[in-house]
């Protein structure tokens, strides 16, 4: 079995790679969003901390 045959999937390429592509996209986007949320949260906490330090 060669690779082009494998990717053609007997004519079902769009359906199969569409499914797995969307799965990959969703997982990657979700991980990026969670990472981003963590970065934002930590930034927020830094800001709060700095503000407290300035006050004291």
């Amino acid at each position: 079995m060669n690779w082009s045959e494998f990717f053609a999937m007997k004519g079902y390429a769009w359906y199969i790679w569409g499914s797995y592509g969307m799965a990959l996209l969703i997982f990657i986007v979700e991980i990026i969003m969670v990472r981003h949320r963590r970065i934002l949260t930590l930034q927020q906490l830094h800001l709060m901390r700095n503000a407290e330090d300035d006050m004291t």
Binding site: F6, M9, K10, G11, Y12, W14, Y15, I16, G18, S19, Y20, M22, A23, I26, F27, E30, I31, V34, R35, R37, R38, T41, L42, Q44, L45, H46, M48, R49
Partner: protein, 245 residues
């Protein structure tokens, strides 16, 4: 009896525990994904009836089952939070919701791409499909309600109630749509379950386990963010190394 479980229900302890658990879940999920995809595409044979198109099953079935299961887990956590007033349970519930919603969407998407070559239609008003769609709506309602209430404690309680009502409703919706469908147009789109090849089963279970572990890992990551956001005024948060630096 040596383990004090309530110790782990405090956000400050759980924050650290979750941080230690995430890499384990994430890496085993990654390994299982590789193994599962290998079995799905290179070991599992071509199906006689469906040719190669059936390979969508390896992502579709785990996504659908997990999306329903996560809803039940979410409702369970929400109920715990409501009854015992434990903050962490409510945080877990709101951390699970986006993952569940994404999996429900993925299940619909892959289902459509599988349905088109097999049934000749992107969408049919079958009981399973319709209840999956409604499950997605229930997730979106939960997220929207939680997001629109400013006071987090009140948001937890309101959305917990919604989650519980929703979980009571999911079976009712499923059966109502099933009867409606069979009454109206007959079961035209029953997927006849031929006996599955062993390699197909293995591929599916491996993928299911992989998605499961992935869901745990990503919701633990999310609950860590939620804990930090909610507890931002607490002393222990300001003493964390990632906050101090």
């Amino acid at each position: 009896m040596a383990i004090n479980w309530f110790k782990y229900s405090s956000p400050s302890t759980f924050y650290g525990v979750a941080g230690k658990m995430v890499p384990w879940f994430a890496w085993s999920a990654a390994i299982l994904f590789v193994v599962g995809l290998y079995i799905s595409f290179f070991v599992a044979p071509t199906d006689i009836q469906q040719s190669e198109a059936y390979r969508i099953m390896f992502i579709h079935v785990p996504a659908s089952i997990l999306s329903m299961f996560i809803y039940l887990v979410m409702a369970g956590y929400a109920a715990l939070g409501l009854i015992f007033n434990t903050r962490l349970s409510s945080m877990m519930a709101s951390a699970l919701a986006p993952t569940g919603a994404l999996l429900a969407f993925l299940s619909l998407w892959t289902g459509a791409l599988w349905g088109k070559p097999m049934w000749g239609a992107w969408w049919v008003w079958d009981a399973r499909l319709t209840s999956e769609l409604i499950l997605l709506f229930l997730y979106l309602g939960f997220i929207a309600l939680h997001a629109s209430i400013d006071d987090p404690r009140r948001a937890d309680r309101a959305s917990a109630l919604l989650a519980i009502i929703g979980s009571v409703n999911v079976p009712i919706i499923y059966f109502s749509v099933q009867w409606w469908n069979t009454l109206h147009q007959g079961a035209s789109v029953k997927f006849t379950g031929t006996s599955m090849h062993v390699a197909m089963q293995q591929g599916m279970y491996t993928m299911m386990l992989a998605v499961w572990l992935y869901a745990i890992a990503v919701s633990l990551l999310r609950v860590r963010c939620i804990i930090l956001e909610r507890e931002c005024k607490a002393q222990w948060v300001s003493e964390l190394t990632e906050v101090r630096r």
